[in-house]
Symmetry: C2
Subunit: 190 residues, 2 copies
């Protein structure tokens, strides 16, 4: 998606430790105009698919998923939660995600009320790197009895293993920008 | 907002411990059609105000804020983060929030790059109960040098002290549904 790549080149900042900061437009401050175009692009890429639910994980995926959901005829969004709160029933699907960004492991839960048989699920997230979050979410979808239609990712770090793991699992993966390499001076897209 | 009140009466569940579960449409599964109407209502209520940024706090506020931001001519959204990650610079505004839902205290941060002088800020969040999150966010706005225009809340627990605290601070507060009392059999709106 050229608009996204141009924005990454313009406003993305590569930091030590393999960090691509896009927090001026994607995951701290959010440019909703860009999110709308991202939503339209996901809809175009999955136009041939029957999808009736979008699943994401807190927090950065939520805005992307909500605006995309409008493009998919206002289907519901469900976001997986990273810690159990007392407001959530005990009847939940559970997973674990090791977060690259936070350097720790989270419990991830989705209420069984909102994911199960009959759901045709598109997973949406902002980043794909090692693939931990996406593998966790896809297992939760499959274990729930729902159908996993595919995954839409905004930025894939193509030099990390996540994309290969997901594709090897037979999951249809559409990444809007795939980075093949990056350093402080340049970002190379696939 | 009658559409919202009707939805709370239809799908909200009151649980022990003063919990109103609205996770089938607002803060776990999300009905984006409802979010669009909520966004339009916030725009209507603050139509007389000059606002150029929406501030919310992860996670449940993000979807609401993003869709509302489109109604405010695509102004940027910034969401405060509850834990410092290594992707965020050290140059941040800091606050603390005691969470009713999670029963613990969070550090809350917003990058100084995305909140400061010249910003005319509307704070948006899903719930107002004791007011901890909203007081924290409003202090961060004021300390940053930005102007706090007001706060838009989806559901206010009117029998708790948050609404009074915020209004006594002179902050313009617009809550789309104010609950005066609730139990397992009924929910009474103001």
């Amino acid at each position: 998606m050229q608009l996204l790549k141009d924005r990454i080149l313009k406003d993305g900042i590569v930091k030590d430790g393999d960090v691509l900061k896009v927090d001026s437009f994607l995951n701290h401050q959010i440019d909703v105009r860009l999110l709308r175009q991202i939503g339209k692009e996901f809809r175009r890429l999955f136009a041939d698919c029957e999808i009736n639910k979008i699943l994401t994980i807190e927090s950065s995926g939520i805005g992307i998923a909500c605006i995309a959901a409008e493009e998919f005829d206002n289907i519901p969004v469900v976001f997986a939660k990273k810690n159990q709160t007392k407001n959530i029933a005990h009847d939940v699907h559970r997973g674990k995600v090791e977060s690259f960004t936070h350097g720790k492991t989270y419990d991830v839960i989705v209420s069984k009320d909102f994911l199960g048989k009959g759901d045709k699920v598109l997973i949406i997230d902002d980043f794909l790197a090692k693939g931990n979050a996406l593998v966790c979410l896809s297992e939760m979808v499959k274990n729930s009895g729902a159908e996993l239609v595919g995954a839409g990712i905004v930025i894939e770090k193509g030099y990390q293993e996540g994309g290969k793991i997901i594709r090897d699992l037979g999951i249809r993966l559409e990444s809007l920008a795939i980075i093949d390499s990056m350093n402080e001076n340049e970002i190379i897209f696939r």
